[in-house]
Every structure is written in C-alpha cells, then in structure tokens.
Symmetry: C2
Amino acid sequence: MEDLYLKRVVVALGGNAILQFNEKGTVGDQIANLRRTSAQLAPIIASWYQVVITHGNGPQVGNILIQNERAKHEVPPMPLDVCGAESQGQIGYLLNQALSSELKRMGKSTEVCTLMSQVVVDPEDEAFDNPSKPIGPWLSLEGMNRSRREGETWIEHPGRGWRKVVASPKPVRILNARTIESLLSNGFTVIACGGGGVPVIEDAQGDLRGIEAVIDKDLASACMAAEIKAHILLILTDVSTVFLNFGTSEQKPIRQIEVSELRRLFEKGQFPAGSIGPKVEAALQFVERGGERALIARLDEAEAALKGKTGTTVTA
Amino acid sequence: MEDLYLKRVVVALGGNAILQFNEKGTVGDQIANLRRTSAQLAPIIASWYQVVITHGNGPQVGNILIQNERAKHEVPPMPLDVCGAESQGQIGYLLNQALSSELKRMGKSTEVCTLMSQVVVDPEDEAFDNPSKPIGPWLSLEGMNRSRREGETWIEHPGRGWRKVVASPKPVRILNARTIESLLSNGFTVIACGGGGVPVIEDAQGDLRGIEAVIDKDLASACMAAEIKAHILLILTDVSTVFLNFGTSEQKPIRQIEVSELRRLFEKGQFPAGSIGPKVEAALQFVERGGERALIARLDEAEAALKGKTGTTVTA
C-alpha cells in the first residue's frame, strides 16, 4: 500500500452530513448529525492526514433569510453575504465542537479551528447574466414587491409564490489560502469554506465587497484544494460511487477513472447538473489543476475510500 | 524609546468600533464603522506588532435573537450559544473584509483571518446562581410564557415587558490558544473571541456543550491574552483614560499605574460595574497573570497609546 503519511486532504461534506432530508434543522438535529459525521472524520484526522473540512449551508442560510424577512420591521435585514457568514458561524461552531469532542474522546489533542471564509469571484462571470439559484423564503406578490431591491431577479412558482434567485459564479481565489496552509503545516485541523465561502469581488485598489450570490461548495472546495496544494480532494455524498448511465439498465459504478476520460463523459452530459454533476466537475477541476486524486464517496465510507477500497477515484 | 519589534498585542474593540450609540445596526452602519476602525488598526498591524483583535457582539446577537423569535413558527429557533456563533460570523466577516481592504490599500500583504471561538466556563461558577445579563427581545407576559423554557430566568420591567436574563460566568480557558499562537508566529493577524467567545462547558470525558450564557468580552480578551503569552492587552473604548473619582470635582485621569495600586482602587469601588469596571478588571487580570502591560485608551488613539503617549497604562 502506498504511504499516506501526511497527505493533505480536503474533505467536502455533503448536506446529509449536517441535516437529513426530512429534518427542519433544529439545533438537536444538527448536533446529532454532526456527532455521527465527526465519528467518521476523527479517525482520518487521527491517522495520516492533514485535513481541511468544507461543508454546505443551504438549509441553514435559507432559515436565516426567513428569520431576517420575518423580523424586518424591527431589525435591519442583512444581505445574503452576511447571512452566509452567519451560517458559517452556526455550522462551523457546531461542527468544531462535535469534532473536538470526538477527538478528545479518542485521546487526541489535535486542535480543530474554524475559519470564516471569503472567496473572490469575477464580476464579469457570465453566471451574473443568468441568476438561477433560488434562495430565501417564498413570498406573495405583495410581499415580493415590498422586499425586492433594485437589480434583483425573482421568479414565480405557481401555487408557491415568488422567490429570489441569485447567480452562482465560479470561485476564482480563496482569501485565506496561506493561512490554511500554515495551520495544516503546524498540525491543526481546519474547517473552512463553509457554504462555498462568502462571495466577494475585489476592485482595482484591492477593496473587497460582499455580493449577493452563492458559490457551489464543491467547486469552492476544489479551488481551495488546488490553492493549498492538497494531494486529495474527498467529496462525500450519499452514494458509494459515481455511476455511468445512471438510472438506466446500463448503469455501472465507476471505481477508478482517468481525468481525461471523466472529462469526456462529463462533456457528453453523463452527469446531471442537479445531482452528481457539480461533484464530478469539482473532481475534474482539482485533478486538472494538478491535484493527485479526487475521490467521490459515501460519508460513512470516507476512510475506506481514502484507502482505495471504495468510492470513485479520479487520477491524472 | 523601547523596542516594540514583534510585541504581541491583543486589541479588544469596544462597542463603538462597530456601531455608534444611536445606530440600529444596518450592514451599511457596520461597514462604515468598521472601515473607520480598520483605519486605526491597520497602521498597528503594519508596524511592529503581532495582533489579535477581539470585539463585542451585544447589538448583533440581540438582533439575531429577535429574528429567531419572530420566525419561530417557521424556523426552529437556535439557542443563545448558536446565535452568538452566528454573530461572530457576521461581525468577523465584516471586520475581516474591512481590515483586509485597508491593509491592501496600504500595500501590505498581511493575511487577516477570523477564528470562531469557544471559551470554557465552570458549570459551578457562582454567576449561574444569579443570572443578571438581559438578552433578546422584550416579550409580553403571554409571549414570555410561550417562549420560556425550563430553568430559564426572566425579569419584568414595568412598561416594557419581560426579558430573559442569563449568567455571565468567568472565562476559564479558550479553546484555540495554540491555534492563535501558531498563526501569530507565522505572521497572520487574527480576529477571535468575538462577543467574548461562545461559552461552553466540558464534561469529564472532554465533551463540549454550548450553554446559554454570556462572557464579558474584555475578561475573555484578558484570559486569551494571558494564554497566548501576549505582551500587551490594549482595551479600546470611548474615553482617553481611566479616571480617579470619576464624575466628581476630584476627577483625575490615571496615566500610569502599578497593578497593585489599581487593584486597591478597584476593591474600594472606584470603577463602576456598568461602565469602566469590567475593563479595569480585565486589565488587572492580565497583568496579574504575568502580562507586561495593559492599556485602556480611545479607539482613535490606539497607536498613540501603544507608544505610551496617551491612555492608562497598567504595569506590574
């Protein structure tokens, strides 16, 4: 077996690591799931890896946006970037706590830390011409007209009402790459890029400004993994592998694949945009930018996937 | 003049660094104030210091609690510890952004990072016998009865309604001291212990659990400053110095004082608990735990205070 000593790995947690499909998102739900998730992650941290953990924030930031809307006559509502930062605080805190506790239980003294993350995007990204990511509460026509600000796009869904849609631009650069590298080199475990990081744009003077957009968390993880020179990007989800011809009689698991072949299948539309597509794209981008390998695997098979026993492995 | 090269300093920002007295807390208010604050902090970071910045969160966590209350029929409300973590996300993000922008404008490439912070408190702390810190929205008797959970203390204020009060226990230990030390040693600027950090208790197995309490942010800053072996604790507020016999005809600024003398004045009740008291107490604790000096000064005189030109300096 190859020597895994001190491999640097970015672990991108799927939504099911924090909330199950039918849960509303109480703190009890989140704590229970994050304990289960930490029990998967702690052995990895305790063995051969320098680990950065990223996570989504969809249900949590959605809830925070509803809270902002419902209290808006008393409390100035915060824009999406600030709500995203709040969700990083919420999830990062709970995950950090669960993971620190699990490591302590195993007798490990590794310090886990959570970094607030900002990710630079290109204001000219074509995603801004076509906002498509729905966020926040459904509102009535009247409610929408009261809430809508200049430049925003809202879409109507018959029977449910109106909802804001925002752009999902590509991550260009994460702001704390050097910080994360330093922390890993010094033995710390890092939680970062929660929810894909807060999207910011940078003007000619270097001034940063948050914008109302959402960055795909798997693409942000791939961008970060490449920047911090990780060896492995491990994308965790609820399926054991990526499948060829998914949902047809020809369905076949992909256990090991070269990046050029996966790119070819991706361009042919093998992987649906609404499900495994962004994960495959993230794996492609990481390996194409020089990463050693990308893995897509089930949360409860994370360690086995790192050892090559399951999951889909994408190599150069 | 003494050599200040690579002194390690914890800068505790006062509430006025983020919001002015009469502001409601819009994102625009916060950004404007944090730009002004960053213009004070950036020259310090750019010169001779390893800097950790701490800040309060009173108005922000109060707003988040109101948002949770108003949306509680749709969104599971989060307990105070999670709301505190969200406020760390909100303020940390905005401060990090403002400070990174200001440093970039000055041509500095220092990376600023924001760490989510948890602070261990003692479950036997006597503060738990006497909860006194009001938090969250005012409610009617009926609203209070609906919201109140077992074990909570609420107090009535005639004419305004009912409000929850929580304990303000002493900080015992911060969870990421080694992380912060490593970051400072490697040249990064750190934002941490926002709102005094999220209070957590640790059981015999090392398991951490958040609790509904509030840690004074100046005391948390002093605790952290001692643990990371900072040379200087710089507490910024809206007065130029601490005063002797404040508000009397005998009022006199204290420019330089030994810790034993300040302790004597503190025990005599010279410094009111509702205003300068906790700041004086934080300064005392830091120097008594071995810190080189503590400074209490105005935000816009921060650099001058570090150079000994203004403020109150407390030494061993």
